[in-house]
């Protein structure tokens, strides 16, 4: 099947789904109080649009800060842990456990400690993003083929050349995979804190719209965040492919 045909079928399926949904509401089969029709969701975009975009900006600002911190710390720790064998053996069970455990359990404590402003959102975003990035990078470094390293060294490569020509290209895919995964986790962390702590931003907007039973606006805001997130991840994937060519 050609890529074009697949694209067309994908778009067609989504269009059919939206049409069925619209029909279900119009014929009274679904209650618009809970499941608003797509047309009313689009209309709701206009009413909450400006405010939602401003709050989205705030959420994105926090996410970006958390992301930069999570990537810096995660990649740094990952390179270190992946590079030193003993460290890797000692630390990795803890890392895996911390990655898998529900971090929501420490969220109340983070709010108590850091107050009710942007800080807890950033801290929790970093906490969410750090472990997947660190684990992916550490795994990537561990899996690097040692042979080219030995060959380059025995042929007299300086450590800078070694790093630039052998290690960096070999580790890059893992770093990029971590960066792609990390952004979703950071955004998730920031949104959870905004929802739980009632902190200005998209998460708080979503919860208040739900509490006010404004379903069309709620769906519009949800769609906005979702589309943005998918867009960012697809963008990073594109970048990944670009860099793949460069390698």
């Amino acid at each position: 099947m050609s890529a074009l045909r697949r694209r067309a079928l994908q778009s067609l399926s989504i269009a059919v789904l939206l049409a069925l949904w619209e029909l279900a509401v119009r014929t009274g089969w679904a209650d618009p109080l809970f499941v608003p029709a797509p047309s009313s969701v689009v209309r709701a975009f206009r009413t909450i649009g400006p405010e939602a975009l401003r709050l989205l900006g705030e959420t994105l600002g926090k996410t970006l800060l958390a992301y930069v911190l999570a990537v810096t710390l995660g990649v740094g720790a990952g390179l270190l842990i992946g590079g030193v064998r003993y460290l890797h053996d000692v630390v990795s069970p803890f890392l895996v456990a911390l990655y898998a455990l529900p971090k929501i359990l420490v969220l109340p404590w983070i709010l108590l400690t850091f107050g009710l402003a942007a800080t807890p959102a950033v801290v929790y975003g970093v906490l969410q993003g750090f472990f997947p990035i660190c684990l992916l990078v550490a795994g990537g470094v561990r899996d690097v083929d040692r042979m080219p390293l030995h060959v380059a060294r025995s042929m007299g490569a300086t450590s800078w050349q070694l790093y630039r020509k052998v290690i960096l290209p070999a580790v890059l895919p893992a770093v990029l995979a971590g960066m792609k995964l990390g952004i979703v986790f950071c955004l998730l962390g920031v949104l959870v804190v905004e929802m739980f702590g009632g902190i200005r931003g998209m998460g708080f907007l979503l919860v208040s719209l739900a509490n006010a039973f404004r379903a069309p606006e709620l769906f519009a805001a949800t769609a906005l965040v979702s589309l943005l997130s998918v867009g960012v991840v697809l963008g990073l994937e594109r970048l990944n492919q670009r860099l793949g060519h460069w390698r």
């Binding site: 399926s13 000692v90 929501i104 739900a210 709620l218 979702s226």
Partner: protein, 252 residues
């Protein structure tokens, strides 16, 4: 090996010691040293602190159980429905993968609106989180089935059902069981997140309640209890996974 174990023990002891030291010098409302968490945990487990604890834990366990049953049923049926016909998976998998890139918690307010504040919205959120790894695992497993094996067994006259049981199922079991385990972990996370974001009963609610009243020692003890329960569930899942893996290797 011994040095590694020693390193782990030292690391853990160092972290606990640091926590103890830090907490003793910090605000006692915010920081609880381990030496105060242990008695709180004992009181909690003897049901002196919160006599209704079993009911809360029971409700959370019930929500996880129902959500996971739905995850398995929905995940497997959708996975096979998309993966078994030849081209359907190629069309819909990218859409599913794109949905995976959405931070799941954005759906929670909509679920709360739809299902209310009771257990239904927690179950729904657990299903939403756990569902994706299962579907994606079925699709990944089916894609990795050797087409030759299917062609050969069909040529030898195996019926579709026999092909499925004898060829497809053993080939995908390892991937599938790993996906089911990841789905279980995420289902638990979903239920807990749902309860903490807003509930009237359940373990998450109790955690929220203790934090709201600055009973930090009780909060830490409850969080610890929740962690142990999560680890227990995942341990059972890991054991099942290794059993299933041995079964497929034995069959191959």
């Amino acid at each position: 090996m011994r040095r590694v174990v020693l390193g782990r023990v030292l690391l853990l002891a160092g972290l606990l010691g640091l926590w103890e030291l830090w907490a003793r010098h910090g605000d006692p409302l915010l920081y609880v040293p381990p030496s105060r968490v242990v008695p709180a945990l004992a009181r909690l487990l003897r049901l002196e602190a919160y006599p209704t604890l079993p009911a809360h834990v029971g409700l959370t366990a019930f929500e996880v159980l129902v959500a996971y049953a739905l995850v398995v049923a929905l995940g497997l049926s959708l996975g096979f429905a998309l993966g078994l016909p030849r081209h359907v998976g190629a069309i819909y998998e990218p859409i599913l993968a794109a949905c995976y890139a959405i931070p799941s918690v954005v759906w929670y307010p909509s679920l709360m609106l739809f299902f209310g504040l009771g257990p239904a919205s927690k179950i729904a959120f657990g299903v939403l989180l756990g569902f994706f790894p299962v579907v994606l695992a079925v699709l990944a497993g089916l894609r990795a089935v050797e087409p030759h094996l299917l062609t050969v067994s069909r040529a030898l006259g195996a019926k579709p059902a026999a092909c499925f049981v004898k060829v497809v199922l053993p080939a995908i079991t390892a991937t599938l069981v790993a996906g089911l385990r990841a789905g279980l972990a995420l289902t638990v996370v979903g239920v807990l997140v749902g309860e903490i974001l807003g509930a009237r009963r359940g373990l998450g609610y109790l955690i929220n309640y203790t934090y709201g009243f600055f009973r930090t020692a009780d909060y830490a003890a409850l969080a610890l209890l929740a962690l142990v329960l999560v680890l227990l569930v995942d341990g059972i899942a890991a054991w099942t996974e290794s059993r299933a893996r041995r079964w497929t290797e034995g069959a191959a």
